[in-house]
């Protein structure tokens, strides 16, 4: 089934291997290209110097750091950001409350439809 996401380049930032692998599997099954996955903000920043993703999936807590500044950088470049977190909404700072968000464990369908809504809403 084609859903308009084929060939889209998705940056995955998630520090847990299993979750990252699960996300990667789900994205690749729908013919998306995974950038990463990477486990830290530092590596994500390196990756962004020569890669331009169409969207990014960010775990909020990466070890003891958060991915908010990375999200700022991506949003500045018009790259839509999907947060994936084990915390409830109250944990999110105010500026990010309007960002699309998935709660772990996220199902494949939820993931794909969230990405679909994000990527479609970006002006060409």
């Amino acid at each position: 089934m084609r859903n308009g996401l084929e060939g889209k380049r998705i940056l995955v930032v998630e520090d847990d291997y299993f979750i990252a692998a699960d996300l990667t599997r789900a994205l690749q099954r729908d013919q998306m290209v995974v950038i990463g996955p990477v486990a830290s903000v530092a590596v994500a920043n390196e990756t962004l110097t020569d890669q331009a993703p169409d969207a990014a999936i960010l775990d909020i807590e990466l070890g003891s750091k958060t991915s908010y500044r990375l999200a700022d950088r991506l949003l500045e470049k018009q790259v839509p950001v999907l947060f994936v977190t084990g915390y409830d909404g109250w944990h999110l700072p105010e500026p990010y409350l309007s960002q699309p968000r998935l709660t772990k464990p996220a199902g494949d369908k939820e993931l794909i439809s969230a990405l679909h809504a994000m990527i479609r809403s970006v002006p060409c």
């Binding site: 291997y17 299993f18 486990a39 772990k104």
Partner: protein, 364 residues
Amino acid sequence: MPQELCDLLVGSDLAHSAGVSVVAEGDGAREFREIALAGTWRRMRGAPSLDTQSCDRAIVQNRPLLLEQPGPYYSEGEDGAWVHQALLIPFHHDAQPVGIVWLLSHDERRAFDNEDLRLMGSLSRFASAAHRLDAISREERQHSFAQAARQSMERQRVLVAELQHRVRNMLSIVRYVFSRTVDTSANIEEASMHFKGRLDALARTQVIVAQSPSGLVDLEVMIRDELLGVGQGDGATLIIDGPPVQIDTVAAENIGLAIHELTMNAIKFGALRVPGATLDIRWSVEMDKRARPILKLSWIETGVPIVPVVGQRDGFGKELIEKALPYRLGAETRLDIHGGGVRCFISTPIETRGTAAAMEAPDA
């Protein structure tokens, strides 16, 4: 302190009875609550309360009052102590009269005079100070109680969020392990067996974490638990040896799963199946160039004639050791499958994540 004041007044023969009453605002009328009492009235059973109207007057007029033969009144033959004179001295808190120090004489032999008034003026300041101290400590008690309650609630909230976070992460891990196991198993029985084994390994780690007050896991306990779980203890052919090392939950989950995969493989194909083969599990902690502790763990099987195939069972063990540990823990790993048995080397930083992050440069 009000009681000490009363005892002092009676003890030094200033009055036959002495007491302190504080204002307790009732419905409409002002009421008085006796908080200390000494002397004749104290020795009487069911001593009467001081005449409220007189106390009220002293409070309203906000000055000492000397009353001749005020109430309570006793009819003849009634068992009581008739009041000859009463001296009522209001005391203050924040410029508001809050109570009365009162002195009673029960017969003519003790009559109050101006000297008593002057003395009582200073004593009432003492009562004010005592009252203020009492109020402050009550406020502090209430304040610190409220603060403790707030802190406890906040701690609870953080713990609940943490727990929720951990549970959700764990579910995500289980989800992946499940789909990975199903994808690579030959049939449903095999998938079921492998999945249960992996779930149990994760559960064992959780039990150890839950029992540890620090949230850290003793590496040796974890390794022994895993091997005991499949009926393997120390012996001539199994050596488990290393210094005490505490690792955090994330490291424990990942290394625990790796130990599980190695153990299952050894039982099926390796040193825990073949008679005469040995398994040597050892670890040490060394410092790297930046003086960070690195755990070096080795799993060495010898005397296994047929080459075992760790992880080739379904590739999960291999993926775990070669990909998951480097990704999640920043570990360096090596998995050799050759004649004689499996050899696995894991070298991983073991600083608790918080400390490690604190030493890193802040992200740009």
